[in-house]
């Protein structure tokens, strides 16, 4: 795999094509980054709408039919927050041209399709079709509501909202749902225009598709967008929590979900990142981690207990599913393990296991076009672009002392428990 750098092909538009002959497929991914803003509700609906219909393909049947005709391509559109950036993503993976049954260039067709659905969405005279808008509003609301079906994800989302209320990151679900209900075709169009003009765009592709073709088409397209002025993308890093806040909510659940939100002390997404990554992994990564070995294996309190670092916001989450009556015991043990990290009482074995597992995983990142695209796109805002091998090298250079130093900066911000509803006394 040869990795160069993202090339600026238009104002605020970066493109990278990683050429590799070893795959059967090509992957193309377009990310639009914007600050979390007043358009957030509309962007949620837009992501759904633009992934279902367009001006040319204005029914599910024709839109999906086109995707299907590209040899059963996998097409996705989604929206996510990355720190305090919103990312609207359109991506496609499909068989390489050499598998075409009639000699047609499937990859060129796919690029044309992606550009077409972004350039020509399902709207007329500055307004999205009202019937489609109403339908997509319904899907988006149902999708947000359905988060309640996945209790683990719901608990995490609640903790995030409670912990970061007052920060753009702490998205208020209720407000979001109300904002979505207020939308119409015009508001949606204004969010679409904002996306086209104010976003930073990252285009990443991998496979044996023709990089020159891809670059030429996207260069033409993005330069045809008038008055582009990408907005600054910033995330506020709250380095420290003053005191622990406790939250308890109830729902009909069989198993209580415990989520702990921690401030890592990172000042920005590059601040000691690799050391923080290793620290989080020793604490709650693989089956060799402190949390897995103790909360699950030694104490039999849970099936899962792990920690995740959110580099782009400088926070860490710990999640576990437990019996409600074991709440105190589980929480105490998790905090005890955090103290062990801070005091440097983890073993050399813990440290080495984590480094070798992390390095090993990143060395394999180049073995699928989708993971190459995801990995590269995640570095689009970094100064330098490195491949999985170099990434693994950086992880391997992290020292025990650096890990302890990172752990010492971690503070617990919020503890959230989603527990079963109390039974009536009657």
């Amino acid at each position: 795999m040869s990795v160069s750098a993202y090339k600026e092909i238009a104002k605020g538009v970066k493109l990278l094509c990683v050429n590799s002959e070893k795959f059967k497929t090509n992957c193309i991914k377009i990310d639009f980054y914007l600050p979390i803003s007043r358009h957030f509700a509309a962007q949620n609906v837009l992501s759904s709408l633009m992934g279902h219909t367009s001006k040319r393909y204005n029914t599910f049947k024709t839109f999906n039919g086109k995707v299907e005709s590209l040899y059963g391509a996998d097409f996705y559109s989604d929206i996510a927050t990355v720190g305090e950036k919103v990312r609207l993503c359109f991506s496609m993976e499909l068989p390489d041209d050499r598998f075409s049954l009639d000699g047609s260039k499937i990859s060129e067709d796919a690029v044309d399709f992606l550009i077409d659905i972004i350039k020509n969405p399902n709207c007329e005279n500055g307004c999205f079709d009202s019937e489609f808008t109403a339908r997509e509003i319904r899907f988006t609301l149902e999708n947000i509501e359905a988060e309640k079906n996945d209790k683990r994800a719901y608990a995490l989302s609640r903790l995030r909202q409670l912990m970061c209320s007052g920060e753009p990151y702490g998205i208020d679900r209720e407000k979001l749902e109300n904002d979505i209900k207020e939308l119409d075709g015009e508001k949606l169009f204004s969010a679409y225009e904002d996306m086209m003009k104010s976003s930073t765009v990252v285009i990443t592709a991998c496979g044996s598709l023709n990089g020159d073709m891809l670059t030429a088409k996207f260069t033409d397209f993005m330069n045809s967008v008038k008055d582009r002025a990408p907005e600054r993308l910033e995330t506020v890093f709250v380095e420290k929590a003053d005191k622990i806040r406790y939250f308890n909510e109830q729902m009909e659940v069989n198993q209580a979900k415990l989520v702990i939100g921690l401030r890592t002390g990172m000042k920005n997404s590059d601040d000691n990142y690799f050391a923080y990554r290793v620290m989080t992994d020793i604490f709650g990564g693989g089956p060799y981690s402190r949390l897995f070995m103790n909360v699950r294996e030694k104490m039999s309190l849970c099936y899962y207990c792990g920690a995740r670092l959110l580099r782009e916001k400088g926070i860490m989450f710990v999640q576990s599913g437990i019996e409600e009556e074991n709440y105190r015991q589980a929480l105490d043990e998790i905090l005890n393990q955090l103290d062990i990290m801070k005091n440097g009482e983890f073993t050399n074995e813990d440290f080495e296991s984590s480094i070798s597992a992390l390095a090993d995983a990143f060395r394999g990142v180049g073995d699928s076009p989708v993971s190459v695209c995801t990995f590269m796109a995640s570095q689009a805002f970094d100064g330098e672009l490195i491949d999985g091998e170099e990434y693994a090298e950086k992880l391997s250079k992290v020292t025990r002392e650096q890990v302890i130093e990172c752990a010492k900066k971690v503070t617990v911000d919020s503890v959230y428990l989603l527990s079963g509803e109390a039974e009536d006394d009657e």
Partner: protein
């Protein structure tokens, strides 16, 4: 002596090797040029449906508690000294395991130290170690895994549906069992199951990625010893053709009712052919796939959202065509699906739709060959079903629109269906 056969596919320009290992184990090696990582999976044809069995020559069938195959999967990671996870921690490999209705698989992926990791995999799966204490400890962990699944309405909806469709077949029991059923599991029972199902004749090893046949065989020759193997006899109670009940509803906390509608196939033989399975997948796409008229209508009329999906669900002794989704008007959705099934039965599948969907399946076949994890898992899965990995392509090519019409007539009967609703 190990007997090695190369199997090529010209379209993909790939080959893999099928090896009859001297231990009696079937081994597959699928080298991938220029890949950095490797993925290995060691599986046994033993899953949650194998609740009643004996070895050839034994007098009585033994009946084991529900969820024991999955429990055994958890316990096999332990040994008298270092458990498997602690051993993998030294090689850097990422290891895991899973249990399904009809198989249990142990796997790892790695970029370095391949041989050491393969040695660990073959060694711990070949050497069980259970004690009453470790069995008891696992009951707490698995108890929480079961409760986690109980909070997943999609999972609960599927098992409600299976209980509504199947009278006797053990496919209706939860893969992990229940908190109650696993409390009856003992170290001795685990050893009985292990001795029956974990023998080379009932297992397979598949490795894909940055590996060679020589590397795999050098480890296999060292670790795997021939084992006397007896034929496994499984016993299933006869399953009536009919479903148990038409509708089953359960309460769980969900945003909107979640439904699963299943059409139970009346099967004369326990196993479906690869051709039948592919026909069913195409058929479901034609009836209710994302490019079908029904999908467009249900979406436009607000009856379903984009979670609406289909699945062909089959294994030893069971086969069903399943439609799932979220709806406040699930009865209406069921009516519409029935109507569409009747329409296609009457009018036959359209040639244009058939061609487009067949092309999609051709593309999906190719796309599977990027990922070493799906290659290795499919090698084991297809072997247990009696097929070769590349066979899917030629079978797909042979399917005609008339085959789909015939499959629909034979396999889906709207009178023999159940619906589960989680509300």
């Amino acid at each position: 002596m190990n007997n090695i056969k190369e199997i090529k596919n010209e379209l993909l320009n790939d080959s893999y090797y099928e090896i009859d290992h001297s231990s009696g184990l079937k081994i597959f090696v699928y080298p991938k040029e220029n890949y950095s990582s490797a993925y290995a999976v060691f599986g046994t044809k033993y899953g949650s449906i194998d609740t009643r069995f004996r070895l050839e020559g034994e007098k009585d069938f033994i009946c084991v508690p529900e969820g024991i195959a999955h429990f055994l999967e958890h316990k096999l990671f332990e040994s008298e000294e270092l458990d498997a996870f602690a051993r993998y921690a030294k090689t850097g490999a990422s290891a895991n395991a899973y249990t399904s209705f009809d198989k249990t698989c142990y796997l790892f992926s790695c970029s370095g130290n391949f041989r050491q990791s393969l040695e660990i995999l073959l060694d711990f799966v070949s050497n069980p170690y259970f004690t009453p204490e470790t069995v008891q400890k696992e009951q707490g962990i698995i108890g929480q895994e079961i409760k986690m699944c109980n909070d997943d309405p999609g999972w609960e909806s599927l098992f409600s549906l299976l209980r509504a469709m199947y009278h006797n077949h053990p496919v209706k029991i939860d893969i992990a069992g229940t908190v109650e059923s696993i409390s009856h599991i003992t170290a001795d029972l685990l050893y009985s199951c292990y001795e029956t199902f974990y023998n080379p004749m009932n297992m397979a090893l598949a490795v894909a990625g940055n590996v060679t046949v020589e590397q795999v065989l050098s480890v296999a020759d060292k670790i795997l010893k021939p084992k006397a193997s007896k034929k496994i006899e499984r016993s299933f109670e006869p399953e009536p053709e009919t479903v148990v009940q038409d509708t089953i509803t359960r309460k769980l906390s969900v945003a909107m009712p979640i439904f699963a509608i299943g059409y139970k196939e009346n099967i004369k033989t326990p196993e479906r052919t690869l051709k039948e399975a592919l026909e069913s997948a195409i058929l479901l796409d034609i009836i209710a796939g994302k490019t079908s008229n029904l999908y467009e209508e249900l979406i436009s009329e607000g009856l379903v959202n984009t979670t609406f999906d289909t699945e062909y669900f089959e294994g030893y002794g069971y086969s069903a065509h399943i439609f799932t989704g979220e709806s406040t008007n699930y009865e209406k959705v069921r009516e519409r699906i029935n109507g569409e099934i009747m329409r296609v039965k009457k009018e036959g599948v359209s040639r244009e739709e058939f061609d487009r969907i067949k092309k999609k399946h051709y593309g999906s076949f190719i796309m599977n060959f990027n990922d070493i994890d799906s290659i290795a898992n499919d090698l084991v899965g297809e072997y247990f079903s009696g097929c070769g990995l590349f066979e899917r392509l030629s079978v797909l090519e042979s399917i005609t629109a008339e085959d789909i019409d015939a499959r629909l007539r034979n396999a889906i009967n709207i009178e023999n269906s159940s619906m589960s609703v989680i509300m």
